[in-house]
């Protein structure tokens, strides 16, 4: 019974996604059933659409920058929370994790309002800082969870053997922490790459990400092009964690 029900939940969860993938190969003019053959026509058409390619490039650059910045901010903060005792620790930890609990619409409005008050135009930088705020809590949670499991004694041993704090971090803490840092970056990248709720507030016609572009295209109807774009996105974002897992295993076993 339980097994059957679980199976049904899976079917329910994945049917729409599979439908997107199947329909993207439908040569018919409308992005809907029935299938009338199999063709890559819509993918070819996508690859000739320069605004979509631009959006892709934007999304990739934005996601990578967000991942780097978020981890650069998040890792030291996680170190502070796990390795040190200081006043107001609990409060500050909650504050840094707060963006998860604040509705994304409000985050979108707030940052846009602030930028408007500063009389700055919407720009790539706005998207970047916005995405860093969105992803920082996740980096913090992931790195903190891992850091708790790394014994403080290793670092203390290195320090007592004469390493300076920077060397200690480079030689001891960082290698032990690397999987979590990597996971944090991956998570930030995906959140940034997929985000649409807040990004719609911050994006402009010149600075579009792929989801924002899809949103714009959707206003007409679900065209087969959207399905094809969706398929590309699904393959890209789903293969990232698998590829990352595979690569990290290879590196781990390679040496």
């Amino acid at each position: 019974m339980i097994r059957l029900f679980t199976l049904l939940v899976y079917v329910w969860m994945f049917t729409p996604i599979i439908a997107v993938i199947i329909l993207s190969f439908n040569p018919q003019q409308f992005g809907s059933f029935p299938m009338e053959g199999f063709s890559f026509k819509w993918f070819v058409k996508l690859s000739h659409n320069s605004t979509i390619l631009d959006a892709f490039k934007n999304s990739l650059v934005l996601g990578s920058c967000t991942a780097v910045l978020s981890t650069a901010f998040g890792v030291p903060a996680a170190m502070a929370f796990i390795r040190y005792e200081f006043r107001g620790k609990q409060f500050l930890n909650t504050l840094l994790i707060a963006p998860i609990m604040i509705p994304e619409v409000v985050l979108g409005v707030a940052l846009l309002l602030f930028i408007r008050w500063l009389q700055q135009p919407k720009s790539f930088a706005l998207l970047l800082i916005g995405h860093v705020v969105l992803t920082l809590p996740y980096v913090l949670l992931i790195v903190q969870a891992r850091l708790v499991g790394i014994k403080k004694e290793y670092e203390e041993a290195a320090l007592s053997l004469g390493a300076n704090p920077f060397q200690t971090f480079k030689e001891i803490t960082f290698p032990l922490l690397a999987p979590a840092i990597f996971a944090g970056m991956l998570f930030s990248f995906t959140i940034s790459f997929d985000d649409v709720t807040a990004t719609l507030f911050w994006a402009t016609a010149q600075n579009q990400t792929v989801p924002v572009k899809i949103f714009g295209m959707l206003r007409n109807s679900v065209s087969p092009e959207i399905n094809a774009l969706g398929t590309v996105m699904i393959i890209l974002t789903v293969s990232t964690p698998f590829l990352a897992g595979y690569l990290s295993r290879r590196f781990a076993s390679g040496k």
Binding site: I17, F73, I102, F114, L136, D194, T197, I214
Partner: protein, 289 residues
């Protein structure tokens, strides 16, 4: 021993500065703006008055959207609970060697774009979508059923988005339960069902309530499913904010609605934290990677 009390602050300063300037101050701006006036010309005039809030509660239009948001959020929580608990329980019980793979599949939607998952329902529920196509083909119906652009379709989209959060929260809680407890209950004469009801279910409640809170909060703050899958009558509070800010550029009123939404969710999160502790949610979120 040297005084090292400045060290954590050095490590914290980049993220604290970022959060202070990019989150705390902007949110203060939203609060300040919510008291401003909007000139007929569309300009914003600094002021301190409650007109924007009064406007919200003036007639029944805006409060009814607030109420329907809460209703939809409540329905989504209940459905997520039913459709989430059983798979989570299955993962807890199963000894299948496919378990890691099945767990991975549950996480997979996290990696798939929200907008694509939302619009994918059009391919299923639309007039020429999968369900209507199959029903027409087998002559069950003679004209397509209208399944899109209503509350049901919106809830489908929300469920698709939020179910993985619920399943993981419940699973993390179930996974922490010592299995010998149910064995003990059964050896003392409990049936399978009684052991579940008296031991497993109560012990999984922290995960259940964390999942419910997360689903509720996320539902209240989203506008895409109603926009893409809903009709004109299915707008939620976040849609109002989006329309005011992006559509009519009415910053003061949009800010006031944002403040109302924030206060509402803060009351809910605070009450929850008071009784359940918020850490359960963070525990699960950090396990998701």
């Amino acid at each position: 021993m040297k005084d090292k009390s400045w060290k954590p602050w050095v490590l914290l300063s980049p993220s604290l500065t970022a959060i202070f300037f990019l989150l705390v101050i902007p949110i203060c701006f939203v609060i300040v703006y919510s008291f401003w006036l909007r000139a007929p010309s569309g300009a914003d005039i600094p002021a301190f008055q409650f007109g924007n809030y009064a406007k919200f509660f003036d007639d029944f239009f805006y409060p009814s959207i607030l109420l329907s948001t809460l209703r939809v959020a409540f329905e989504t929580v209940i459905l997520c609970l039913v459709f989430g608990y059983i798979p989570a329980y299955f993962f807890y019980k199963t000894r299948s060697r496919f378990k890691p793979f099945l767990m991975l599949l549950v996480m997979l939607p996290f990696w798939i774009s929200f907008i694509i998952r939302t619009l994918s329902w059009i391919n299923i529920l639309g007039d020429s979508g999968l369900i209507n196509h199959l029903l027409l083909k087998f002559h069950v119906i003679s004209s397509p059923l209208a399944m899109l652009y209503n509350e049901g379709a919106v809830i489908m989209g929300l469920l698709q988005y939020l179910l993985p959060f619920m399943i993981l929260n419940i699973y993390v809680s179930l996974d922490g339960i010592d299995k010998s407890l149910t064995e003990a209950a059964k050896s003392l004469g409990c049936t399978e069902w009684q052991a579940f009801k008296e031991v497993t279910l109560p012990l999984s409640l922290p995960g259940v309530s964390a999942g419910c809170l997360l689903v509720f909060v996320l539902t209240c703050g989203t506008y895409l499913p109603p926009m893409i899958l809903g009709g004109p009558g299915n707008e939620m509070i976040a849609n109002l904010i989006f329309k005011r800010i992006i559509g009519t550029l009415d910053w003061p009123f949009g800010s006031a609605i944002s403040v109302l939404l924030m206060v509402l969710l803060m009351v809910i999160v605070y009450t929850y934290n008071r009784y359940m502790g918020i850490n359960q949610i963070f525990k699960t979120l950090s396990n998701e990677s």
